[in-house]
């Protein structure tokens, strides 16, 4: 049956090419798994100057990862393990290790469970339910983690532990525990488990050389520099977690042929991939269990089932039906073996901004197929950047796919102040249109505005100026969809309010200060009395809370409650 589906896949209405582009060889890759190993010793709960504790920041971070995984990669397995706890819960009964969640896909219930440890309230409930201890051993915690990995029945492609702590020398007084931790860590490495340190700000600075340098994995694929500095803010931490967690999966690996006998191998990556609203699944009305869909092909006359070999492909032109074997259809799509073939170089100024047909891809050298690729690649990149040229290449991404031409546009590496890579080195692979892709346009005759008019428009433009960043806009359709689901899943009365950034965002830069100014005490009081606080956006409410030194949490209702509470008292 499986073969059947595979065979008729392309019959679907949707664009098969698009589907293929988005598919990342799921068949061969197993599931990705990630364990958050969180230090729960008392030091983690101490308040820092940002008014949060390291623990709280970690939980918020994990929460964000959970919800975003639900949206973007719900197949990934996640787990949360605390160590240095009073109580313990794990399959081998080690003391001071508490498995909150074993490896599984994240769901609504788990998000709620995490919620209870957030904020001030969370600190108390953690103390009551789980408690702290200083007797924990990191080796035990790592042992439990490796058990979690081995308990999973599914094939795991990527095993990662992220260790959150603000203690740079956990076993300072007990060298045997330290030794055991080191040995266990190296065992993990041997089994392909990657251990990352997410070190958090501590007074006096976090010194990785004391203990953790020998513990964490530095694979050749990652920079030592990326370990970088300790994280003091949630945003820093999140950025670090994301950078680590995104496993780079090449869509394909192929050769870039420069000329006769000169080939290097590259991996092709999608740095941007449209996130879509997930497709609905059919459930059986009685039990709410998912049903399977089977598509069958049969002969309309005899009713007998048809095998793929019983059909051929046809098109009608004029009144003539032209029939081809399926193999012939593949053959007519076949021009050459998959790969990139260099045609030549052109100055960057000839790259037209408006010549666009589909999302670009990215290439980076791949040593596994042809050794020495990195050196040639890096030389090409350096020189293309220096000479301000791009390469034109013929690109066949897969077997039996007609060629397209691409511009290989060089991009140099860039690091931020903390030496963390913000822009990777490599070539963007931009698709160039063929003659057929250009359309005739019935343009409107030119009428040129005079200087005065242009000057006035310039003022308007300057007024609405902001700095564009691609991450500044959330997709309102997807966000709304998941908030609806979340509300249903968690039995909320109403879905969480969403700020539609596509309506206000950019202007927000302009509007925000205005709004802040105009929010005088009287106005707020009016809102409180009229019960119209709900009409204000979350950032505005937050700003008000800040103004009056109120703590309201992150939810809109909490903010409103805090403000209402404040103004009814005063």
């Amino acid at each position: 049956m499986a073969d059947w589906h595979a065979h008729f896949q392309n019959e679907d209405e949707e664009d098969p090419e698009e589907a293929e582009d988005n598919e990342e060889d799921i068949r061969y890759a197993g599931r990705d798994s990630l364990i958050f190993l969180i230090d729960a010793s008392e030091a983690m709960f101490e308040m820092n100057n940002e008014d949060t504790s390291a623990f709280d920041m970690t939980i918020q971070c994990v929460h964000r990862v959970y919800t975003s995984k639900i949206i973007s990669s719900e197949r990934d397995l996640l787990a949360v393990v605390f160590f240095g706890t009073q109580k313990h819960k794990n399959s081998v009964d080690f003391k001071h290790v508490y498995v909150l969640h074993d490896l599984d896909t994240p769901g609504a219930k788990r998000v709620l469970e995490l919620d209870q440890f957030e904020g001030e309230k969370g600190k108390r409930s953690f103390k009551d339910q789980i408690g702290h201890s200083t007797d924990g051993s990191l080796a035990d915690a790592l042992w439990v983690c490796s058990n979690l990995f081995s308990d999973v029945r599914l094939k795991l492609s990527h095993k990662r532990i992220m260790l959150f702590t603000n203690n740079d020398n956990p076993h300072a007084k007990d060298s045997s525990k330290a030794r055991m931790a080191r040995t266990k860590a190296s065992d993990l490495r041997e089994t392909g488990i990657i251990l990352d340190l997410m070190h958090l700000r501590k007074p006096g600075g976090f010194d990785t050389s004391l203990f953790y340098r020998d513990i964490v994995s530095v694979t050749e694929d990652e920079d030592g520099a990326a370990q970088g500095r300790e994280s003091a803010k949630l945003d820093d931490l999140l950025r670090k977690v994301w950078a680590r967690d995104y496993k780079k999966k090449a869509t394909t690996r192929l050769n870039l042929k420069l000329g006769e006998g000169v080939e290097l191998s590259v991996g092709v990556y999608n740095l941007i991939r449209s996130a879509r609203k997930p497709t609905a699944i059919r459930l059986y009305r009685e039990t709410n269990e998912p049903v399977k869909t089977k598509t069958r092909w049969f002969n309309g006359e005899t009713g007998s089932l048809l095998l793929p070999s019983d059909t051929k492909k046809a098109q009608v032109y004029g009144r003539r039906q032209i029939v081809l074997e399926k193999e012939e259809i593949e053959e007519l799509m076949r021009f050459d073996a998959p790969g990139l073939v260099l045609i030549g170089f052109k100055p960057l100024s000839l790259l037209k901004k408006h010549h666009y047909i589909r999302t670009s891809q990215f290439i980076y050298p791949e040593e596994t197929m042809i050794t020495g690729s990195s050196t040639l690649f890096s030389a090409l990149l350096t020189k293309c950047l220096e000479k301000e040229v791009f390469a034109v290449a013929r690109y066949i991404p897969r077997r039996n796919t007609p060629p397209r031409f691409v511009a290989l546009v060089p991009q140099g590496e860039q690091l931020d102040d903390e030496q963390v890579q913000t822009i990777p080195p490599g070539f963007h692979l931009m698709f160039l249109p063929y003659a057929d892709d250009k359309r005739k346009v019935d343009f409107t005759e030119k009428t040129v505005a005079n200087e005065d008019q242009t000057e006035k428009m310039k003022q308007v433009v300057q007024k609405l100026r902001f700095k564009y960043r691609p991450e500044s806009f959330e997709n309102p359709v997807i966000q709304k969809h998941f908030r609806n689901l979340e509300a249903l899943a968690l039995d909320l009365k109403e879905p969480e309010e969403m700020e539609d950034l596509t309506r206000s965002a950019a202007g927000g830069a302009e509007k925000k200060p205005k709004l802040m100014e105009s929010m005088g005490t009287d106005e707020i009081r009016q809102h409180v009395q009229g019960g119209t606080l709900g009409k204000l956006t979350v950032p505005v409410l937050k700003e008000v809370c800040k103004q009056y030194g109120l703590k309201g949490g992150g939810k809109k209702q909490e903010l409103i409650d805090a403000i209402t509470g404040h103004f009814t008292e005063h």
Partner: protein, 558 residues
């Protein structure tokens, strides 16, 4: 005629070329044809003053021209809307799709292999439960749901419709303006490029839009726009930038990604990595290559582009039409080869050929590029495509498996690891060009590492290592070396508090390698026994480490 042909050249050439193409395209012209050509030429050239024809093609030439199927033309569709900036400025505009990846209009349908009728092929979709019998259920008995992580949430179509994100229909409103440098070309997403003009016959709109276009051009800025095609479609965020041509000026709109679409991959820096850095010589070779493969001719005034992709017809369509055309008349013959003319269009332009070959040779000399033979793709493809033939697959698999074991056992082990040190050691020792002493030292290093932990499990691991080492040393004629190592170990027992481990050695009577066992040893049996026995007394006195052992045992049992 089933296909629209490019009729830009001679009027009646179309049919003639058509006829010739169908038979044999490279036939020498007959006398009669030549005569005909002369006639046509005469006729055509006599029209010169009137029609402005300045070229007459031979049949062969027209064949080449005409063998390019006409590019797909579509009528421009107008999209009238209003461009808004804040609440104050509204401009009537009209948008056109200016560029999009064109697809073949017709798709393939399935027909019955015998009757060749599509009516005979029917498709049906059924739903069934996930139980052993695959019980079928009717569509009416199913409802719609969505995954929320591991949970599945029933969410009916009606509810979904009611709760979903709603838009107010058509929209092209400016959210703000940003410097051009902040909108990078590789951010572009979506499948089209829109050109936005002022609405026809609307002077206010024309002036306002022109002012905006010029303002953006002069400030080197772009507009970030919220775009909605119509009531039913999803909102987009995109960029609109000015384009000023001789005949028209417009804004060009292209969609940009949402936060959810971005994936922050980190790649190892190429600068500091040991395998990434190129030498000066290598760099200058690449420099020369880029110069010799330049696709532009710059005569100081104008830059001529030798390879304009946007002038090349999509080879997919060309090939498809060629094959359809062929099959329409010769349904039983295999497909014709790709038209050489089409192939030439897809290749490096002829103008380049001479010079770059030298630079390429230089490159070949300076860079060592070695195929590691790991063409993963091919292996996988083999497995997929041979899936029907089980026997062959079985034999193939058998072979690849063998291959894997060999590589696993020999190719991939390069040092003694801490996970399976004994196995690694054995593998390494058995490799032809291995250095026994070096590998053994690696192994002992691991053993000492394990012993530091003082844990029963690691003791056992160490024991295995030593046993294997003894065995291999005997075979390799390195008994003396082994004996030396064992003596060193013994000497270290006291200092490192390894008494309980030594006890294990005594228990398993791992002695020095004797003369009887290996010819190169100088140790006799008595000496070997003595070696172990001598340590038995101090063992008894040290009772403390045994307690230690208990703790470790407990740990072990957990």
């Amino acid at each position: 005629l089933p296909f629209p042909l490019n009729t830009s050249s001679i009027g009646d050439g179309g049919d003639a070329a058509e006829r010739q193409w169908k038979t044999s395209p490279r036939k020498e012209l007959t006398a009669q044809q030549k005569e005909g050509m002369r006639m046509v030429k005469k006729v055509m050239l006599s029209l010169d003053e009137v029609g402005g024809l300045d070229e007459v093609f031979t049949f062969r030439e027209s064949v080449e021209r005409l063998s390019i199927f006409k590019k797909i033309e579509r009528k421009p569709m107008t999209w009238p809307c209003q461009l808004t900036i804040g609440s104050g400025i509204t401009i009537n505009i009209v948008g056109y799709k200016a560029m999009t990846e064109e697809k073949v209009k017709k798709s393939w349908m399935s027909v019955d292999a015998k009757t060749l009728r599509k009516e005979d092929v029917r498709r049906e979709t059924v739903y069934c439960l996930n139980d052993d019998n695959e019980t079928e259920v009717s569509k009416e008995d199913t409802i719609q749901g969505f995954r929320y992580g591991s949970d599945i949430i029933p969410f009916s179509q009606v509810d979904q419709e009611q709760m979903k994100y709603k838009t107010d229909g058509k929209c092209f409103s400016v959210l703000g303006f940003t410097k051009s440098a902040q909108v990078l070309q590789h951010y572009y997403v979506g499948r089209q490029v829109l050109q936005v003009f002022a609405a026809k016959d609307d002077e206010h709109a024309a002036v306002a839009l022109s002012a905006l276009i010029h303002a953006l051009q002069e400030l080197d800025m772009m507009a970030i726009v919220r775009y909605i095609y119509d009531r039913r479609s999803n909102p987009q965020v995109g960029v609109a930038f000015p384009m000023i041509k001789d005949k028209y000026e417009c804004l060009v709109y292209i969609q940009l990604p949402f936060m959810e679409d971005l994936r922050q991959f980190t790649f190892t820096s190429l600068k500091n990595s040991k395998r990434g850095t190129a030498s000066e010589e290598q760099l200058s070779a690449v420099d020369a290559l880029i110069d010799s493969m330049s696709l532009v001719v710059d005569d100081g005034e104008e830059i001529e582009d030798l390879f304009k992709v946007s002038k090349i017809p999509n080879p997919h369509f060309q090939r498809l039409f060629q094959c359809l055309h062929f099959k329409a008349f010769q349904p039983d013959k295999p497909l014709p080869p790709i038209d050489p003319h089409l192939k030439t269009m897809l290749d490096r332009p002829q103008e380049l050929n001479a010079s770059y070959i030298l630079s390429m040779e230089q490159l070949k000399k300076l860079f060592t590029l070695q195929d590691s033979g790991k063409k993963k793709e091919q292996k996988i493809a083999q497995q997929i495509f041979k899936d029907n033939d089980t026997e062959e697959v079985a034999s193939k698999r058998g072979r690849t498996d063998d291959f894997n074991i060999v590589t696993l056992a020999e190719g991939n082990v390069t040092a003694v690891g801490s996970l399976t040190p004994a196995k690694d050691f054995q593998t390494l020792v058995r490799q032809k060009n291995s250095n026994f002493r070096e590998v053994t030292n690696q192994l002992m290093e691991r053993v000492y590492q394990f012993l530091e932990v003082k844990n029963r499990e690691y003791y056992m691991k160490s024991m295995d290592c030593i046993k294997i080492c003894r065995e291999e040393a005997g075979k390799a004629g390195e008994s003396k070396f082994f004996n030396m190592l064992l003596k060193t170990l013994k000497a270290n027992v006291e200092a490192k508090g390894l008494q309980d481990f030594w006890e294990l050695i005594v228990q398993d009577s791992i002695t020095l390698i004797t003369k009887d066992e290996a010819a190169d040893s100088a140790v006799n049996n008595d000496e070997a026994k003595q070696f172990l026995a001598a340590e038995e007394k101090p063992m008894e006195t040290s009772a403390v480490p045994e307690d230690d052992g208990d703790v470790d045992d407990l740990l072990d049992m957990m």
